[in-house]
Symmetry: C2
Subunit: 316 residues, 2 copies
């Protein structure tokens, strides 16, 4: 089975042509997460190029799949809500677009849920029925599978808002409306503001303020910068505290960590593994913490199990 | 259908004889949550008395049901773990006991999950497929139903550890092993220690230290005691912050609040409803916060749907 896949991130969109467990061709499109409609012609051109490179036609594909950073009801094929990314997404007729542009059906899914499906199908979650995925990026995306069933929920939110559990009462206000979310306390968009609250920031080599990234923080921490070490420690602690909540919420065998920051997996995974082992309910089974296997391909490959899924009883 | 039911709390055990949606007879047995084995003969005597009062025999009942405050695998009929309540429970042959004492099969379930089943069957959750229950008592018990499926999970923990989400990084150490759990920050067992950290405590009429209860705090707060008001406010804030996490975890239509403290439902429900409405993900459906309808009968009545449940594919 082949699919044309869009993995919509906050700063770029991954386009992929996927066959079963293999990504045949990819391209990356830089965006500012503005109008989705304005990007549709760009996607068409990109997919045509990927197909040309692979020597394939649209008719060789079973469908178009979109992984979207918001609340997506895969069963009704609708994007239900988005915070500040692609604000026009809820109102677009993406099924009409896919049909017109490629003559193909479309399936939409939340990006973290799609990544979990990919990791379960061909990555770090293969053969495991009880999985939680936590993707650390611009925001914190999560998804959960319990006893082989992907959680979706009546408003399509179940499993996807695990970055918005309260980890710090009275903490930072999150874009989602909550206070002290894991995402508000440690994610890409919140990082510059978080860092600016550290006392050493003004005199530190990290002081590049508005564009500060996790890559900057981890690199400077590696070099021994005290402020970078303190910020890194704070971020690791937030992710670890939230990992315990996720373990307590969904009872997983394996917690998979993904996102760009996992280039520093050798620091992150042991820290979170240790904290989870020490702080989860004593009578629970051990929760294994693993780095995602598929990196940015996870959501692309997740398109295949999503297309294979049978939605018998579509609600809405 | 009739059942003999034990609802095992930390300070007392509710014994009930239940018929469909009606509790025919009840008795309450005070305990210290010590040896469960030592209580078994007391339960037999109590059930015999309830049956006598109702003019019924054990053979008029379909089974014995136990709601237990710990991790319980209903499908394999085992108590998997308990913190400090009834430490011998995991090793007892309760099926053998029920068979010998009454000639009846037994089913075990987590107490909060059983209460949710009761509220879904005959209480505040009737007709709703997406429910979360949060029981505020000695500890904080939770349970979740998503799209009509009761969450259980591979280690039988799913949905039940929602009182052990981290709400306060660097907060109080919980009995479960985690730090800053909702339960450690606002529950019956933690209340005396929490209260003692409030500055006004030493000079306040509440200063009865080790035995302080939520009933004390709410009563003194009603009378305008400043320290009691501050403690109450703290506890309400913890429950509200955790309610947002539960909403984000399980995507419920209705969050049901239970436990003895709900005698103050008129203060608690509006506070949590307001906080949840203001702080859950903006694109989610509205989560209704309701007081449990069935009070201490919820877990008793939950025995009926538990006995009716068919465990087709028993794991373990």
């Amino acid at each position: 089975m082949r699919a044309l896949v869009l993995d919509m991130g906050g700063s770029h969109v991954g386009c992929g042509l996927v066959e079963d467990r293999t990504v045949l061709e990819t391209a990356s499109i830089d965006t500012v997460a503005g109008s989705l409609e304005a990007l549709l012609p760009v996607f068409v051109t990109s997919f045509q190029e990927l197909l040309r490179r692979a020597g394939l036609q649209t008719s060789d594909c079973s469908g178009v799949v979109v992984g979207f950073p918001g609340i997506v009801d895969a069963r009704s094929g609708s994007i239900r809500s988005t915070l500040d990314k692609y604000p026009d997404a809820c109102d677009l007729d993406l099924a009409g677009w896919a049909c017109e542009a490629f003559g193909l059906p479309i399936r939409l899914e939340n990006d973290a849920r799609l990544a979990l499906m990919g990791e379960a199908f061909a990555g770090a979650g293969q053969g495991i029925d009880n999985l939680v995925m936590m993707t650390l990026g611009t925001g914190i995306g999560t998804a959960a599978m319990i006893e082989g069933h992907l959680l979706r929920g009546v408003h399509a939110c179940a499993g996807n808002l695990g970055g918005h559990f309260t980890v710090q009462m009275g903490g930072r206000r999150c874009k989602c409306g909550n206070i002290g979310c894991a995402e508000a306390e440690s994610s890409g968009w919140a990082l510059p503001e978080i860092a600016s609250s550290f006392p050493g920031m003004a005199n530190c080599s990290l002081a590049i303020a508005a564009n500060l990234t996790f890559a900057d923080v981890f690199q400077h921490a590696e070099r021994g910068d005290a402020t970078a070490l303190a910020i890194r420690s704070h971020c690791l602690d937030v992710w670890a505290a939230n990992a315990v909540s996720l373990a307590h919420a969904y009872d997983p065998e394996v917690l998979i960590l993904g996102g760009g920051v996992m280039q520093s997996a050798s620091t992150i995974v042991p820290h979170i593994q240790r904290y989870v082992a020490e702080h989860t309910w004593r009578g629970m089974g051990e929760v294994q913490v693993r780095a995602a296997d598929l990196g940015s391909s996870a959501a692309l490959i997740g398109a295949i199990p999503l297309l294979m899924e049978h939605f018998g009883d579509v609600k809405n």
